[in-house]
Amino acid sequence: MATTTLEPRSGTIRRSWVIEWLTTVDHKKIGVLYIVNSFLFFFAAGILALVIRSELAVPGMQFLDHDTYNQAFTMHGTIMLFLFIIPALSGFANYIVPLQLGAPDMAFPRINALSFWLLPLGGILIFSGYLFGGAAAEGWTGYSPLTADRFSPGVGTDLWIIGLALVGTASILGAVNSITTIFKMRAPGMTLFRMPIFVWTVLVTAVLILLATPVLTAGLIALFIDRNYGGSFFDPSVGGNPILWQHIFWFFGHPEVYIVILPAMGVVSEVLPVFSRKPLFGYKAFVFATIAIGLLSFSVWAHHMFTTGAVFLPFFSFMTALIAIPTGIKMFNWLGTLYRGKLMLTTAMLFALGFIAMFLIGGISGVMLASPPIDFHVQDTYFVVAHLHYVFFGGSVFGVFAATYYWFPKMSGRKLNEPLGKVHFWIHFIGFNLAFFPMHQLGLSGMPRRIADYSPDAGWTVLNLASTVGAFMIAVSIIPFLINVVASLINGEPAGDDPWEGNTLEWATTSPPPPYNFDRLPPIHSERPLFFLTHGHGHAVARDEDLDETHEAQA
């Protein structure tokens, strides 16, 4: 048994804890930085959500003026999407993908550190508008010509543009890194079709980022030129075309939806099989469905623009509806995984089940929105707000929490407390539905989104109040979560290498893994190397015997 110690000895230079974290190029530390940074922005944007919901709880302007309200929902949307959900999932990808591939690190560790550090910089720039006369207030979609300097003269919009361009650059660098890592750094035996589903979803996501995000960056630069150097890309008064912005934004923006949801689907596809004690039903179908969603996502952008009267409705309606097919396949794969399994309802599993239950609702309302006549009625109403929150929050954020409960033991060496986790889940789940389900009805009855106030005669008061109560329940549910994280870090149950009887390679190393991850790797004959290590192909094989024939991690 040849072993090589890969852990670098830091005996000669003693670096402080702070310097170590600030200068690290270890994918695991960077992953943790991503996740912690994302949660900080999540809390900031969550407070903005509470501000919005408090203002809308009853008719009349309570404590905000219209401009402050507009800034609040613009910052809420921008920060939640670009600085919480995407980076949180990138953080898990950063931490877990090299482990699942049996790799020692990401392909480009320094680029990895750069793409992380651009994030807090971009986020602070976006937020810093509040210090310079007001943050951007045009909605996270920043529609032209409202973003033109004559309608939005404040520097907040420029800071929003620059910050988003930086965050986008971070995404692009991260995507290059992920793709290279996945294609070039797989352990011996880890063929493409033996890769864990989470890696597949990260791969497709990275390709989407690489193709879509530069389009947004280009659009942001054009907008910056319009605002500051007399350009005329989007402003019709000087010969520009405002619809061009919508095309550019949504050509990025719809793949962006899948950038946000695919890795969360990957998380769920890791968690469900482990806690059902069965393989994912239809692994290859799931992979091809993921690729199909990725491809289709580039042909549906104008379904956000049905009411502009400037797009060809049948094509975009048809392509959008088509996405329901691969998505439906995935849904059935998950149900097939549960079928005749032996379900262990851990908190991670509850969040994964919550994901499929809630994402289904977002998927159904998405198919409804694909129908142009229905979209004509509910476009830009709270129905759309409900839909996108069932996808982003009921989907992606439930995925982020499933990932947190599932991989926390690997990252910290300690399990999160289960009873406290379940308290978190149930308050979160009920609060989520109370906050967002009534919005379907609000939208159907005609309440437009992004209005700071509504008439008491409109009949929207009760549902808005319910929604506000739900939003505060979600906030309350975060308290047991935070207590859980802190308490478990200090005094949690030690996790051991493999607390869940996992299937994939991250569970084959210590918790937390050493620098460069593995001393040795088990043989890889399937997408579940650890399962076969434990259970063999139908008969038990002792783990130690197998380990003796291992490949060196750094062959």
Binding site: R277, A310, S371, F437, L444, S445, D457
Partner: protein
């Protein structure tokens, strides 16, 4: 079972909170088509919803691991037949949805000879309605503009933006269309609808347009051709038109007289679910009005009469229950009970 109970409770709660999950009763021909399409889609959606959520709940109860059960379940990797079937199911649903959507789209977007063509100008943060007859209706802060349209005839709107994007939206018509300054790229958007019921319909801007977005409201008043012609003629003559069509709509009419800072009645009763009228006469030289409140929340606020005169209020339909009516200038002395019966 505990999980099932909680989850079922949550679902029931959701159902109650979501209300009926239906758009408003449509008031246009196109709106009725959209409403019917919506019912079909909602039906399909409910089947999928109940099927999948039901299976998740069933799986959680039926397949939950018993404590101490360490035997692995059968390691089922897939089943081609089943996978082909469940690829076919969403495919069929998608094609049904697409086909009916396109049929409805043809109906909603149909162009006919319009009975009235109105140019709508949206700007931060107000509307202007320009009629072919040369009159212009312009909204003012706190006083949304009223767009008069004839009932039973196609009405064509030409939607122009004078600055940023806006969207003309009337929920009861189940349609909206954006007002966009396309520059030289193309002409303004158009929208056609045929209102089927006389009445007043509120609308507002649905595309975020800056600070005053929430205040960009308007009203569509649909009236018979004769009333419409009279209305426009009055506008052309420079008079303030009386919102007409009122008498035709008053099912129940309540008459209230204010004299010496007192109402002549202290209670009245109206049927639930139908609009009614209040004929209000002010005999005092000081201002009075009639408002209907539900425990302090105004459901209806009538226009003030500042001097002796008579006005007919059109009150929207109320749900069954007990409410109060009062004069908002004298809420303690001029007050009475409203009973809305089923």
């Amino acid at each position: 079972m505990r999980f099932l109970g909680r989850a079922a409770g949550a679902l029931v709660l959701l159902g109650l909170l979501g209300g009926c999950m239906l758009p408003p009763q449509p008031a246009t021909e196109g709106g009725k088509d959209v409403f019917n399409l919506y019912l079909l889609v909602l039906g399909l959606a409910l089947i999928v919803f109940v099927g999948v959520e039901g299976f998740i709940l069933y799986a959680v109860v039926r397949y939950r691991r018993k404590p101490g059960d360490d035997v692995l379940p059968e390691q089922l990797h897939g089943n081609t037949t089943v996978e082909i079937i469940w690829t076919a199911i969403p495919t069929v649903i998608v094609f049904i949805l697409f086909t009916f959507s396109m049929i409805t789209l043809g109906e909603v977007d149909a162009h006919q000879d319009p009975g009235a063509t109105i140019e709508v100008e949206g700007f931060q943060w107000q509307w202007t309605f320009n009629y072919e007859e040369g009159v212009t209706i312009r909204g003012e802060p706190g006083k949304p503009p009223v767009m008069a349209v004839p009932v039973g005839e196609p009405v064509r709107l030409i939607l122009k933006s004078l600055d940023v994007n806006h969207s003309w939206y009337v929920p009861q018509f189940l349609i909206k269309r954006d007002l966009i300054d396309f520059g030289d790229a193309r002409g303004p958007n158009e929208l056609e609808f045929t209102v089927t019921e006389e009445g007043t319909y509120s609308g507002q801007c649905a595309e975020f347009c800056g600070t005053g977005h929430a205040d960009m409201t308007f009203v569509v008043q649909a009236m018979s051709r004769a009333d419409y012609d009279a209305y426009i003629a009055a506008l052309v003559a420079g008079e303030t038109p009386v919102p007409s069509g009122g008498s035709a709509e008053c099912g129940t009419t309540i008459s209230i007289v204010a004299a010496n800072t007192q109402f002549d009645i202290d209670s009245f009763e109206v049927p639930a679910g139908t609009p009614f009228c209040i004929e209000f006469e002010n005999q005092d030289a000081i201002q009075h009005n009639v408002a209907i409140l539900d425990n302090g929340t105004p459901l209806f606020e009538g226009e003030f009469l500042n001097e002796p005169g008579t006005i007919t209020y059109q009150v929207p339909a109320l749900e069954a229950g007990d409410y109060q009516f009062l004069c908002q200038a004298h809420p303690t002395t001029m007050v009475g009970d409203v009973t809305v019966t089923q």
